[in-house]
């Protein structure tokens, strides 16, 4: 793996980010919309004494932490789509780059952009609602890492499917991760779910993070060992997703990269 090649691929997407209004809006506009809508809604609930003040922070924390899996997934699948729309996949793979280098860059870009969006949304929440998500301190580190790993799993899965079946199913790039959102329990405790959904939720690593966040915000403590099981789950899913996208790449090589669209 060569760093200059990773930087070359990263530059391709970073230049695009600068020129693309929709990519900029994805990074900044939607977090603002979510924060304003859900922040005000949770404030309203809190003011009607249906809930206490910590609800506001729990809601905002959910919105802000959800940025990690969302961006982790989005960077992989939408950047692949960009290259399909631009007929640029061939240009990439007639160069010395390895498939592993390309995927690694997309994963790392997901981390960088997630951190930028997270910092932006965190500051905004502080400014608008005096809700300080950064008060969670170092806990944000393992939680963020686990969530982004979870996002990568979806990103790789969706990219693998889009590679095989083409841009006709491109809508998955924007929507697929929301299939799992109800079971990730971003805004509510797992106990709210019906029993069958709780069973599914146990296999969704993100649900453990959001549960831990709510407990911590309510003044409780969650031992880090509670994250071992979701980490094992995440790593298993990641390996499976990595295997799957590699198979998809070998599959499109059998058809020829020029014909992929």
């Amino acid at each position: 793996m060569k760093l200059y090649r990773l930087w070359g691929i990263a530059l391709r997407y970073l230049f695009l980010f600068r020129h693309s209004l929709d990519r900029l809006s994805d990074a900044f506009f939607w977090p603002v919309v979510d924060l304003v809508l859900w922040g005000l809604t949770s404030r309203y609930f809190a003011s009607t004494s249906l809930a206490d003040n910590h609800l506001v922070l729990a809601f905002l924390g959910g919105i802000i932490l959800w940025i990690f899996p969302w961006r982790g997934q989005y960077e992989i699948s939408v950047n692949l789509l960009e290259d399909l729309w631009n007929r640029n996949l061939v240009n990439l793979f007639v160069s010395p780059i390895l498939f592993l280098e390309w995927i690694t860059t997309l994963l790392l870009l997901g981390v960088v952009k997630a951190l930028v969006s997270f910092a932006f949304a965190g500051c905004l929440a502080l400014l608008l609602y005096q809700a300080n998500i950064f008060s969670l301190g170092w806990l944000l580190l393992p939680w963020g890492a686990l969530l982004i790993l979870f996002g990568w799993v979806f990103g790789l899965l969706i990219a693998g499917i889009v590679m095989r079946y083409g841009t006709r199913i491109q809508t998955l790039a924007w929507t697929a991760i929301y299939i799992v959102a109800p079971f990730a329990c971003v805004y509510y405790p797992v106990s709210i779910l019906p029993p069958w959904a709780q069973t599914i939720s146990r296999f969704v690593p993100a649900s453990y993070v959001f549960e831990a966040m709510r407990t911590t915000l309510a003044g409780g403590t969650v031992p880090l060992t509670n994250l071992i099981w979701p980490l094992i789950l995440c790593l298993t899913y990641f390996l499976l997703a990595a295997y799957m996208i590699h198979r998809s790449f070998l599959h499109i090589l059998k058809r020829g990269l020029i014909s992929v669209e």
Binding site: R5, F15, N86, S95, P96
Partner: protein
């Protein structure tokens, strides 16, 4: 020494054989044309050489290394430009060449990009977004991208399609010059027969996934022994018509010019007959067979070498 060796390459798509076992090699500094009707397997062959299509069987060796096992080191010295690919539209020409340059181990990128800018006359386009370029300008930028690593082997799919004649001629000269100065080897597919005839040392003719011709453009053209004799007859046109009929030759008349198809070796004899019969003409031209004639015959499915040149 061969820099490229293709051995018994086969490709089957969904039980349909597309490339049926082709073998060829290429010397350093050679310019090789690949011609064939649509669907003959030209792009499929290029893709397999580049390692972006997995062959069903067979081997590709470039610079003595195996594709795709040694792809990374091979592709440092190889590049490709095609009408089937584009560069990211929203990026400027400069940005596209910058990110591409980082995919290669280039010691002085800034100087290299400056050189590319000059060679491909990109000064005015440098900061324009790729989407705003005309088709010809985009082709030029694509070609410049393929030159970013100064490849020793360059594969070009329709390189001058959509370029205006002046730029196309300039680019052709550039390819020829690169070969002379740096011994760059080039494989190109093109529908421009004149381009192939002028540029290529050797031409492979592909049809239905097989190589049916592999020779210099001149020798391939000579496989057709038909010549067209064009006469603007001013006196005794009826006698000429009789002569054509008795010689069992084919002819057509366009704008007062009679074009007679005959074997090249029969030309002197026919002209002797024309003189002997006192047929007067004010204009005479002879069209010798070209690579295009050969290609058209192949594309139509006729066996090369057979002719309808008459039996004077």
């Amino acid at each position: 020494m061969a820099i490229l060796e293709v051995k018994d390459l086969k490709k089957t798509f969904k039980q349909t054989p597309v490339i049926k076992g082709i073998s060829f090699d290429m010397a350093e500094g050679e310019i090789l044309g690949i011609l064939g009707p649509n669907g003959a397997g030209k792009t499929t062959t290029l893709q397999m050489i580049l390692g972006i299509l997995t062959p069903t069987s067979g081997t590709v060796t470039i610079f003595g290394q195996n594709m795709p096992q040694d792809k990374t080191s091979i592709m440092e010295r190889v590049n490709f430009s095609s009408t089937y690919t584009d560069l990211p539209w929203r990026l400027t020409v400069r940005e596209n060449l910058i990110w591409t340059s980082y995919l290669y181990n280039i010691p002085d990128r800034a100087r290299r990009l400056d050189k590319i800018k000059t060679i491909f006359r990109l000064d005015k386009l440098w900061n324009q977004s790729t989407s705003s370029l005309s088709a010809g300008q985009r082709t030029r930028v694509n070609l410049s991208r393929a030159y970013v690593n100064f490849p020793q082997l360059l594969l070009l799919d329709e390189p001058t399609a959509s370029l205006d004649p002046e730029v196309a001629a300039y680019i052709r000269e550039f390819f020829a010059d690169q070969r002379t100065r740096f011994n760059t080897s080039i494989i190109l597919t093109s529908h421009n027969m004149t381009e192939v005839e002028n540029l290529c040392d050797r031409v492979l003719i592909l049809k239905n996934g097989r190589i049916i011709g592999n020779d210099t453009p001149g020798r391939l053209a000579k496989k057709i022994d038909e010549t067209h004799l064009n006469l603007r007859v001013t006196k005794r046109a009826d006698i000429l018509a009789q002569l054509i009929e008795t010689s069992k030759l084919k002819s057509v008349e366009t704008d007062g010019v009679t074009s007679i198809t005959l074997k090249e070796k029969l030309l002197p004899l026919f002209l002797y007959e024309v003189a002997k019969n006192k047929i007067h003409y004010s204009e005479i031209t002879i069209d010798k067979p070209t690579l295009e004639d050969y290609f058209l015959r192949i594309a139509k499915g006729k066996d090369h070498g057979k002719s309808t040149g008459g039996d004077l």
